[in-house]
Amino acid sequence: MSEQTFDPAADPQAHLVAADGQRPAPTGFWSRLAASNLMVTVLAIVTAMLIGGVLIAMADPKTQDAAHYFFQYPWDTFTYGFQAIWHGYVALFEGAIFNPHTAASGTLAGYFNPISETLTNATPLILGGLSVGLAFRAGLFNIGGQGQVIAGAICAGFVGFHWQLPYGLHLLLGIIAGILGGAAWGGLAGLLKAKTGAHEVITTIMLNYIALYLLAYLLSVKGFQKPPYGQAISYPVHKTAQLPPLLGGSVRVHAGLILALLAAWFFAWLIDRSTLGFRLRAVGANQFAARTAGMNVENSYITVMLIAGALCGLAGVSQILGTNTQLTGDIDAGIGFDAITVALLGRANAKGIVAAGLLFGALHAGGTQMQSATGTPIDLVQVIQALIVLFIAAPMLVRAIWRIKGTGTGIGGQMAKGWNG
């Protein structure tokens, strides 16, 4: 995958590992590469794609037929199987990066539609990934992306279709409303943790469902639901509040991408350069040491969940003011949980999250094309995504499969603590 532009030096655990000197520094370029997290990431992706290939072959009708006479003539099974895998992954590439068939028409959409789809899918994933990643850095696990995206989308959508305002101002207010909605939903979990010690994983899971039911309720009341009240769908957002398309109206990619990149820049600045970021990282690394050093741990929890919620709220903005124009029951499109995989693959740093968001965005865009071109179910993308993260989280396993040396724990290993932690 060409989007992999990791900087191993930006590894969030690098300072932790270097500090206690557990990992002996390997010498030589190749051994250093083999021991690096980049290598684990690449091998995790390769392994997941290989397993995905087996699934593609299993789902292919011709291969299934050939498997019936496998013991008479096994070669057919393998031939058809490999053909299916090849066609599947070619379609995935064509849907995500560049499609020579549509490009032959010579139109702008023909050239750029695949990459535009990738970017459109990547936008909310990057924003959600930043949200989860930020919480990770502060030692919290934001599993409530779904609820925060929904809260953001409800607020942004309401401003978008209910108010009548001029261009520019309307969009700005819509974005702010989305940020505030997400921040409120995330901040609630932070507040509960700070004031009562309620574990954020439990509260954010519960808040996800509360948001889902709230959305279902709103989509059944007048003022939100679009007449003639048959479907659970809201009024469409006014043109004045929509994020403008980046490459003209013929492809879907919209200015939400710029918001996502700005958010990534803000994330990097916040974590690496600001005092607040230092405080958050200190709380994340060791909350007791941070408290001893005079930091207000409780306030940090509230702050980080407010910002994390705001980032997910922005993902909701991108969904309702950019990709879609109407609120529906599945406006969150599973972003909340996909964001967790993005943050883990991106190792909770800004560059990594952008790259991981692009990769998963490409998988989603390509998966749609793959389903229509070869009939391989799009759920394959979910499987590959889960496998990648599973392998990233267990680097020992990846290293054992590929027989390379190296040490180091997986992401999240340093925060392997329970409900009482």
Binding site: M206, Y217, V389, G413
Partner: protein
């Protein structure tokens, strides 16, 4: 607490000092004010604003069945009495909070609210009625997968492994049950469902125990994996061949000879499908197993203080593996319940029930009895939703659907008592 003070060998005086477990401020005020508000709501909505011209018509069985016991009571006075008692209970709790009365007082308060609500619903119009037995039956049916999921959680988390993947284990169990149930038969389908859940449990165990992966991360990823795999295989195999691969038989209710003939209780508990009977057995089994057997004692030791357990020679990792895999099997059985109730596998058939089971586990304070009670409560809330949407369409049933989640947040926030997880829950154990 008692202290014995010895003054001289001849004159032995024993002084008893009773110390009461203190009630936290949040619990005192939160619960007290909540009770008063519930009471006032009851008086206002069901009493003052109630249906004065109609009596509440309560039926103990479905219409059409022979000899359905039924009676009617005036709804408004019931609401007044229930509301006033609830307010008094709230004031009593504020004045003299005693931890041991807490469950009783909250139970009575919420129970009275529910009684007033049902009477109000049953008096909504001249044709409105509430079939209490039907309501309870559907509560139990809705609660069964929650109970099984929560018992899975008890097994895993009491031994120190967080299981957020209950949903995924149920989904895997459901898919496998549908496939094997169609091809072989219902009994094999249930076994296969339990096996699939156990397989996912084993995956959770290996990654959590051997590879020390953060268990919450792992649970989330396994949920995605299970949803992806079942969705993929559903589209690839089941959808094109529904007749051959996705037409599992429905389980017929089995009536237990004598017990099934008892009015009200019989049809409620002793005339249901085999999975519900297995659930009864599992509830008792897990409770006895956890608190009355050597294995259970060891499990709890491993979950609370693995180092101490290891020191006395308990195989910490082995206990965890076994418990997580058995737990997975129970959740997988919960998944097959969906199949044999509905009849076909659909994508994401569990629709978040695994997470409600997790909520029930936490709300029930990680104990089997508490988890079962919480699951029944949540099942009742879901069943209430249906009754509400029929008898009082003006009340948005989505708010009733939120009840389990809000209750769980209140529980972990300490407003309804202290909720504490097993001490080593989620912490991998590494021998040093």
């Amino acid at each position: 607490m008692s202290t014995a003070t010895m003054q001289s060998p001849d004159e032995l005086t024993v002084e008893h000092v009773v110390t009461r477990a203190p009630v936290s401020r949040a619990q005192r005020w939160g619960a007290g004010i909540a009770l008063i508000l519930i009471g006032l709501l009851t008086i206002w909505r069901f009493g003052i604003d109630g249906h004065h011209d109609q009596d509440a018509k309560i039926q103990l069985g479905a219409t059409g069945a022979a000899h359905v016991p039924h009676f009617s009571i005036p709804a408004v006075p019931v609401a007044w009495v229930a509301g006033i008692i609830t307010v008094l209970l709230g004031l009593l709790w504020l004045a003299v909070p005693r931890r041991r009365w807490f469950g009783l007082i909250m139970g009575i308060g919420i129970g009275l609210f529910v009684v007033a609500l049902i009477c109000w619903l049953a008096s909504a119009s001249s044709s409105a009625f509430v079939d209490v037995v039907g309501l309870l039956t559907s509560s139990i049916n809705l609660a069964v997968p929650l109970i099984l999921g929560a018992l899975c959680g008890v097994m895993c988390e009491r031994s120190g492994v967080i299981n957020v993947a209950i949903e995924g284990q149920m989904l895997a169990g459901a898919w496998t049950s549908a496939l094997i149930g169609t091809v072989v038969g219902a009994a094999a389908g249930m076994l296969a469902g339990a096996f699939a859940g156990a397989l996912l449990g084993a995956l959770l165990a290996v990654f959590a125990i051997k590879y020390l992966v953060n268990q919450v991360v792992l649970g989330v990823v396994l949920n995605v994996l299970a949803a992806g795999l079942t969705g993929f295989f559903y589209d690839a195999f089941m959808q094109p061949h529904t007749q051959a691969l996705n037409q599992p038989p429905l389980l017929d209710p089995i009536k237990i000879p004598l017990l099934g003939d008892i009015p009200v209780i019989g049809p409620l508990f002793f005339d249901t499908s085999i999975i519900v009977y297995i659930t009864y057995v599992l509830i008792v089994a897990v409770d006895v197993w956890l608190f009355r057997t050597r294995w259970g004692l060891r499990t709890r030791a491993v979950g609370e203080h693995p180092k101490a357990a290891d020191t006395v020679g308990i195989n910490v990792l082995g206990m965890r593996y076994r418990n997580v895999i058995i737990g997975g099997a129970i959740a997988g059985l919960g998944g097959s319940y969906f199949i044999f109730e509905v009849g076909q596998f659909q994508k994401n058939i569990t629709s978040g029930q695994g997470f409600i089971a997790l909520a029930a586990l936490i709300f029930g304070r990680w104990s089997p009895r508490g988890a079962v009670a919480a699951a029944l409560l949540f099942g009742f809330a879901s069943a209430m939703q249906v009754t509400l949407s029929i008898n009082a369409p003006a009340i948005p049933s989505t708010f009733v659907a939120m009840v389990p989640y809000i209750a769980t947040i209140l529980a972990v926030a300490g407003l309804v008592g202290k909720v504490r997880a097993p001490a080593a829950d989620g912490e991998p154990y590494v021998k040093d």
